[in-house]
Structures are given as C-alpha cells and as structure tokens.
Amino acid sequence: MNVWRRGPLSRNPYYHTAFRLARVPRETTDRTLIVELVSQTRQLAEAVPDAHSIRGKPVADSEINRAELVLLDPRQRILEELLEHPESLPAASPWEALGREALEMMEAGGSTPLKLTNPKPFARWISQCYGRSLCAPADAGLLFGAAELELPPPWGRPGTR
C-alpha cells in the first residue's frame, strides 16, 4: 500500500492523514484512547458538520471510519506516521528519563545529605539577603521569618521605627 497514493492525484495527501481525519494526535498509541477520540470526532462531525473540516470541506463519516481502521492497524498506522509531522511538543519521555536519572544519582549518593565543601560563595549571597531584609517592607522575610520576630529599632528597619 502506497500511503502517498491512497487518494486521487489532485488531493495533497498530507492534509488528509488518518490522524487529521480522525483528530487523533500522532503520539497516541493506546487503542482504547484512539477509539474514544475517533468516537468524539464522529460525534462532532455529526452534530456540527462544519466543525470538523479540512481545507474548507467537512470530513465525511466514511473518511473518519477509514481513518479509524488505519489507526487501529499497527502496520498501516506506522506508515501513516511517515506523512504526519513528528510530535511538535516535547514528549514526556525525555523529562521522565531525566527524572529517573536524577533519582538514580541521588540514590547512588546514599541517604546522608551532601556535604558543603566550599561555603565561601554563599557568604556574599547570605549577606545580600540579610541587607535586603533590613530594607524590605514589613512582610514576613523569606529567610528571617515573620516581621514580629525581627529586631526592634534602632536595630530594626527604618520603616518600622
């Protein structure tokens, strides 16, 4: 089966892939979900014919049925993927893989917390945070707790005097 020659020559096949006809995302492989999505598409097309149209032409029920058959047949479906853009949004898998890798690294390090081997870079950051907290409004400080716990004047901030 030549996926590029399923329709007439006057029809650009890239607009009429099974994914587009059935409104099923390319990344969906679960059969139950495919059937459900196709069913929704069918209902949409029946209820509001213009709601599901390709290049200004409403998609017919027969086209949706054919698309469903293609998507539910693993071989035809894979061939159909040749005509459909790869997922445009990042799939979950790279994030999952990263998460797993990070978890493995943390577990490999043991249950003891990481040692602070060089605290010097943090000293400047801590002093800056302390200075900002003195000049900030009387909201609870992120690092130093609620306002009522702060030092009173002359030690506290000018606004609270």
């Binding site: 020559l9 650009n12 890239y14 995302p25 390319r26 693993p74 993927e81």
Partner: protein, 420 residues
C-alpha cells in the same frame, strides 16, 4: 573534578538540551500552526503540513543541526506537501521543490535510527510484535513509492496532452537514485497506463489513434524499447491491410511517421537481448520493402514511353528507394535468410536497373556516378544475401562492365553522349 561533579554536570547539560528541544519544538509548533487555527495544539489539524514561515524556520534549524532526524522528517513532509500544492496550482517552482523533498526522504531512507524508531513505535502499537520484515521492505521501496507519485503525474499529463509538464516528472524519475529494476517497474507502469487503449484501437483497426497514443509515450521516453516495438508492430499491422496501388500515399505517410522510431530501435542497445523487438523491426522493414518492391516493379514492367514513361520511372525510383532505405534500416539484425533481406535485395536490384537506364542518356561523367551508386548498393545486397550469385551475374557484372567502358571513354576525352 570528582565523579559526582561530572555526573551533575552531565545531568545539567541534559536538562539544558531538553529545555532547548522544548524551545525549538515550541517555535516549530508556532511556525507550522495554521493561520486559521487556534488552540492548544492537541488536534493534529492545528499543525499545517507546511507554512512558509515553518519551512524557513526548519531550514534555519537544519543548518545548525543537519543530522537531526526529526528536523529532516519535518522538512521532508513540509517540502513534499508544498511541492504537491505547487504542482496542482501549476506553479513552476514545483519541479525543484519535488527534488528538495525527495532528497530529504532519501536521507530518512538511509538512516538506520529513523527506522529503528519506527520499529520501536510499531512495538508500542503492537506489543509482542517480532516481524519487522514489512517495515524493512517499506524502507527499501520508499523512494520507489514516492516516485510512483511522479509516474502518476506523467500519466495524467500525458492523457491531457500536457507533455511539457509531464517531462518535468520524467526528469525526476530518470534522475532518481533508485535501482534500475525499480526504474524499470515505474516506466513499465507508465507505459502500461498510457498505452492501455492501444489493444482496443488495434482491434478496431484504428491504427492512427493507436500510433498517436504510442508516440505520445515515445515523446516522453524515446528510448523505451517496448514502446518502440509497439510502434513497429502497429505500423506493420496497418501496412498489412494496405495496397501499394491504392494506398501508396498513406504508406508513404506511415513511413515518414515510423521512420524516427524505427531508427531509434535499430540502434538501441537492448535490441540484441529482445528477440520480439527485433522481430517487430524486421517485420516492419519487410512490409515496407515488399510494398515498395511491388509498386516499383509494377511501374518498371509497364514499359511506358515519353512523358508517361518518365513519370513511371520516377514513381518506380521513389518506391525502390523507400524499400531500399527501410530494408537497409532493418535487415542488419535479422538472421540470414530472413524475408526482409530478400525484399531489400529486390529493391536494390530494381533501383540498380533504373540507375543503369538513367545512365543511358546522360554524359559519361554523370553515367559514371550513377553506375557507381548502383554498384555500391548492389554490394550491399550481396552482403545481405551472401549466397545469391544472381546479384553478381545478372546485375553487378554488367554494370561494372558498363562503368569500365565509361571510364575508358572519359579517358579518351569523350565528355557527352550515352553511357551504353
């Protein structure tokens, strides 16, 4: 650095890479999003097969990351889709766009990673699947399938007579880097489709229509041997129903029409291996030579005098010449004893007789030229039928004698008068 620092750095790089991919995906999604659509992008219809901005963005990214298979796949789809649209719109830019798209598809075909990913996806769609032979076959035949589109465009344009547009696709198919067998299958398909009406036309004796169809194909593929053979077969079939006396003008017109294709067939490299094509060519040569010989002989035997005699000789000369040329064109690949050789020799003899007659009333110098021409073609006839002693005894020897006499006369200073 410690091993844990290495690992952390590596992880950080991966995080950045994933973030970068996410950014690119987002930009691509935006670039490919149809202008008339909006929404979160979960509906595949939200993403167009291509947009001008999308292709520009993809090209830019491809330059920085030429091995990225996802980008290549995006580009293959986008360019191919745009080529299709341009083709349907009659836009001349389609010709180059098809080539660009096919280059991207070829890159995907040769990428093992791309097909491994498809296999992985197939397994996720069909858990437990172990048979991937069908996917390997798809990979092997990918370009042939893509070129099949061009074969169909050729057929479509040929049918409507838009041969210039068909030639664009002929060029694509001819230059495609595919195995010869695959190209043969594609050409065979085009030949089959374009000439599908020929058998019926032949059955109806509508030979003109049949030849028009075959020649339409030959204008696109002038060296396709099965088509050259079909042209010869249809011409021969047409000639078989014609009379040299009543249909001579038509015979001459068929000769003019079929001549370029017969010439192409006669010098075709593949003719040696195609006995049926050779047979068709010999048969066509035989029929022309036979009709010409019969017509020439009928005029020669009429023995008219005066102006009528001159006209008869001219008619005979033309007929013998036509038969001689067709015989010369076609007999060389025939086996010894083939009918076309005999007819060729007969036309040569008739032509030689006429040349000898013509030499009677002209200056010795002119007569010498005519005799030499006669001797030359008689040698050809001898070569065509090596065992025919009659050619030498009845034709060659008397003309050689006549030539010798003429040369003696010229040597003695005679410059006018009859050549006998």
């Amino acid at each position: 650095m410690t091993s844990s620092t290495h690992a952390t750095t590596g992880l950080a790089k991966k995080v950045l890479a994933v973030l970068e991919q996410g950014r690119l995906d987002h930009e691509l999604g935006a670039a490919l999003r149809s202008s008339d659509k909006s929404g979160p992008g979960h509906d595949p219809g939200d993403i167009a097969p291509y947009t001008e901005r999308g292709i520009a963005e993809l090209e830019r990214l491809h330059k920085t990351d030429p091995e990225n298979l996802r980008l290549i796949h995006h580009l293959a789809i986008a360019h191919h889709s745009r080529a299709w649209d341009w083709e349907l719109a009659g836009d001349a830019r389609a010709a180059n766009e098809w080539k660009v798209a096919l280059d991207f598809w070829r890159k995907l075909q040769t990428s093992g990673d791309f097909w491994r990913e498809l296999k992985r996806k197939y397994q996720s769609c069909a858990p437990g699947a172990v048979d991937f032979a069908w996917l390997d076959e798809t990979r092997a035949g990918l370009l042939e399938q893509l070129l099949d589109v061009h074969a169909d465009f050729i057929c479509s344009y040929a049918e409507t007579g838009a041969l210039d547009r068909a030639r664009v696709h002929v060029g694509i198919v001819r230059k495609a880097m595919i195995p010869p067998a695959a190209r043969g299958r594609l050409l065979g398909k085009v030949f089959q489709v374009i000439t599908s009406a020929v058998p019926e036309a032949r059955a109806r004796h509508a030979y003109d229509s049949a030849l028009t169809v075959v020649e339409r194909f030959l204008k696109l593929f002038p060296d396709y041997l099965p088509a050259l053979r079909l042209e010869a077969e249809v011409c021969a079939q047409w000639l078989a129903g014609l009379s040299y006396a009543d249909d001579w003008d038509l015979i001459v017109s068929i000769a003019g029409r079929g001549r370029p294709w017969a010439e192409a067939q006669a010098v075709h490299n593949g003719l040696v291996d195609e006995p049926l094509a050779r047979e068709a060519l010999h048969d066509l040569g035989f029929r022309f030579a036979m009709l010409a010989d019969n017509r020439g002989s009928s005029f020669l035997s009429a023995r008219r005098r005066g102006e009528q005699g001159r006209v008869s000789r001219d008619q005979a000369a033309f007929a013998f010449m036509l038969g001689l040329e067709w015989g010369r064109l076609t007999y060389k690949t025939s086996s010894p004893g083939a009918a076309v050789r005999d007819r060729f020799a007969e036309c040569v003899k008739g032509r030689a007789v006429l040349l000898r007659e013509l030499a009677q009333g002209v200056s010795p110098q002119e007569a010498i030229k005519l005799c030499k021409e006669a001797i030359s073609i008689l040698h050809e006839a001898e070569a065509a039928i090596p065992g025919d002693a009659g050619i030498r005894e009845d034709f060659l020897a008397p003309i050689e004698e006549q030539l010798s006499t003429l040369e003696d006369l010229v040597g003695l200073g005679f410059s006018s008068g009859g050549g006998s």
